[in-house]
Symmetry: C2
Subunit: 94 residues, 2 copies
């Protein structure tokens, strides 16, 4: 979970996640959305992938990235735990 929070600490990476939420995208498509070198974006993809927030699949010469939704579920839980206090029974919202 530490990797997840660290990954979210960068605005570029959060924007990548936001874009991927609309649709799966190739590395090239994503790279065009930023004024950064492809190699730089590739580095961001690595961070997000190691954090488990995205997954990649090769498709021909392209690589398609998509969100890993279960990682987001864990993130939501972790944040709710921060708010409610760890170990306590989760308060159901009425």
């Amino acid at each position: 979970m530490n990797e997840v929070f660290r990954a979210l600490g960068d605005p570029t990476r959060r924007e990548i996640l936001r874009l991927l939420h609309r649709r799966d995208m190739t590395a090239g498509e994503l790279a065009e959305a930023f004024p950064l070198a492809k190699s730089t974006l590739s580095g961001h993809f690595n961070v997000l992938r190691h954090a488990g927030l995205i997954v990649s699949e090769r498709r021909g010469t392209s690589i398609v990235y998509s969100l890993n939704l279960s990682a987001f579920e864990e993130l939501v839980s972790a944040v709710l735990d921060m708010r409610n206090g760890r170990g306590r029974p989760g308060r159901r919202k009425s």
Copy 2:
């Protein structure tokens, strides 16, 4: 919100938040919970304070830190929006 995510990217700072969830604590009490120099912890307090996650109040010679719960509400909203695919706007509590 960027400051918030960056603040959460460090394990020491997340632990500080976890401790403060149990009870308000002075800078000294918090510092004793870590194998780090007081000056280092003080730096972490600053990051958390600028992110709006904690607030401080001087009490005699001590400084008492406590969580800023409304910042956590915003964090929860932001993360839920990430999961639900909402862009920047979000927010639709009454």
